[in-house]
């Protein structure tokens, strides 16, 4: 079967379906994001700024320093007062960002749709630690030349630990901790939202699917195509629903902190 505007026949496995749905996913994402952003514009009231204070002279340098402090403060306080959850949260974010944007396979996918992404290719990290081990212990180099650098070119022996395989292990552990934390919140009868489950469960499932596909478990092409297709499909569900869920914080985080900085430093001249 061929779906409208589709490039691949659908029906044999999930992989071509997932590829066909990527563009519609992006369209839904942009439509949702536009809706969310438009609401901000519609409800925006220009603030009336009372005065730039005369008794507090804040220099340009101090303003920039405070911008860094604004972004760093929550982590600083979190590490001090809630070390375990803050550390897990920070590490989870780092690992997630690395794996989404720097895993070699993901980079090729992004670069296919956004060609300038190729500029980041030298930062690619490999699928497993085997590559790093070969480079480090055997001093082996690529057998054939390629137009792009190999994944270990910048990271070198670091790829023994910095690779999709190990990062996925970490990610599964961190997401499991997060999910356990959400269960504990339920037990304590504190507020929990459907969006929490939606995002974390989908992310967890997606990571596991990606891991199974990459590791060829089970080891045959039929399952590989289906698992990879399912991995992409779940990712597409996450992407399409980002503007309607907590996932959108990956964009709004900057907005919130900049607003806080503007409010305290520019409007109130905090000093």
């Amino acid at each position: 079967m061929q779906i409208p505007f589709g490039l691949y026949p659908v029906g044999l496995n999930l992989y071509p379906l997932a590829l066909d749905l990527f563009i519609p996913t992006i369209f839904i994402f942009f439509a949702g994001a536009s809706y969310r952003v438009t609401r901000y514009f519609v409800t925006y009231n220009k603030p009336f700024i009372v005065y730039t204070t005369q008794v507090r002279g804040i220099t340009q340098g101090e303003k920039i320093k405070e911008l860094f402090n604004t972004f760093a403060n929550s982590s600083k306080v979190g590490i001090k007062r809630k070390p375990a959850t803050t550390a897990v949260g920070l590490l989870m974010h780092i690992v997630l960002i690395l794996i989404i944007f720097l895993l070699a396979q993901h980079m090729i996918f992004w670069a296919y749709y956004i060609p300038p992404y190729q500029i980041l290719f030298p930062l690619a990290i490999p699928e497993s630690s085997a590559d790093g081990q070969l480079a480090f212990f055997r001093g082996s180099t690529p057998y054939t030349s390629t137009p792009y650098p190999f994944v270990h070119d910048i990271w070198g022996p670091l790829t023994i630990i910095l690779n999709g395989q190990y990062l996925t292990y970490l990610l599964i552990i961190f997401l499991a901790i997060y999910l356990a934390h959400k269960f504990s919140v339920v037990v304590e009868r504190l507020s929990i939202r459907a969006g929490d489950w939606w995002f974390f469960v989908l992310l967890f499932v997606d990571v596991v699917l990606g891991f199974l596909a990459t590791s060829h478990i089970p080891n045959n092409v039929y399952w590989y195509d289906n698992l990879l297709g399912a991995h992409i499909l779940v990712a597409e569900i996450i992407i399409a629903t980002l503007p309607f869920t907590r996932g959108f914080h990956m964009f709004e985080f900057y907005l919130g902190k900049l607003r806080e900085w503007y409010f305290m430093i520019m409007r109130r001249g905090m000093k």
Partner: protein
Amino acid sequence: MTQVITEQINMEALKKAIDDVFYNQIDSTILYYLQSCVNCKACEAACPFTPTSLKYSPVNKAEVARQLYRYRFTVWGRTIGRAIGGSKKYLKLDEVETMVDYVWHCTNCGACMFVCPMGIDSGALIDLLRQVAFKAGLVPSIYKEIEQLEVSGKYWEVKAFRDAWEGLISKMKSQLGKDIPLDKKSSEVLFYASIYEALVYPDVLVKVAKILDTLKVDWTFMSKPLGIRPPLALILGDKEGAAEVMKRILDYFTEMSPKYVMLTSGGFEYPALRYMMHEIFEIKPKYEVVHVTELLAKWYEMKRFTIESTDELITWHDPCQLGRRGGVFEAPRVLMRALSKNFKELPSHGVNSICCSRGGGGCGLPTMIEDMAKLIGITIDEKSKKFLDSTIVPLINAGKLKVDEINKVKASEVLTGCPVCIESISFAVNYYHANTQVKHIVDLLADRIKKV
């Protein structure tokens, strides 16, 4: 905390209040606060009420506002959200009780905003719920009566208040040995104070007058206070009442037209009179509203006076409204460093200072409310008494955090710039038998300032 109120709930009034507040108050900032929370619970680390119970963490309290928002402003909220409990059109009786309980477990100190990775001010959302509670008549009667006295302007008819104010002016006169300037127009400094301050720390106000006189500042004081602790309405969720009181204050400030309006209180009056009042009426003032520490730090740096320094180990508590809401952190530290070579910061200070757990939303110590009620002649019934007593628990819990920090730095004196902080921290210091004293910074400064 809620037993006072539940018997009086008018569900129709409540529904109207919810609609009014939520359909009329959503701007881009509030919208961001409502829809961008990721429920990470980082704010738990900052809230002074979390040690009492996790249900009082900012994210948990603000969730009530988010549920009401989702029903009104999101497709999910109106459809699936409703089925799975993620949104609510109105609140059931037990949910109203919870909401009212939550609003009195938030001082709007702003600590949550600075530790929130998304920069969300949960206090602003809890304030929405407070407005709902006020409109629905769910404010403890004791608070409401005091607030209405201020809004109506009838506070000046209360003999005890008049006596306190006139007594204060007499004391200033006798300390300075001369008349003090009252309601003088176009002076350099309009020394602003409220009845509340005249009641709780008249000596501090007298010392401020002494400093102004020593420095030969062209200053003036108010012949009549502008409120009990204006705008009290603001912390009860009465926006209209607050605007009415602020208009009176604005008119007075404009008529007096000083260069500076100087406050000794760094409580909620500070951001209200410095920023909010002018933002609401969209007036750029010709004067500048400042805290006493701001002006003294400026004059000290201009070398208008020197400060006699000692080796005493002192520390500074940042009042939440002066610091986080008002932006004043550096000025008191200029003075603290001049006061002692042994000035030490508390482990949590600046934007991360632990709130005293009263003030902007907690409405002061129960004993203080009771004393004021007695002065005014308001009878405190059993339910009100029970409500006031229940407000002590968070004070004890938050106080422990503060006292532990004070003990860590081993400060002999904790200085601050807000009457409620002085009362609250003093309560905790006494409760935990800590070996320190809590004072207004002017208490120490007054005797150490030497005119150049």
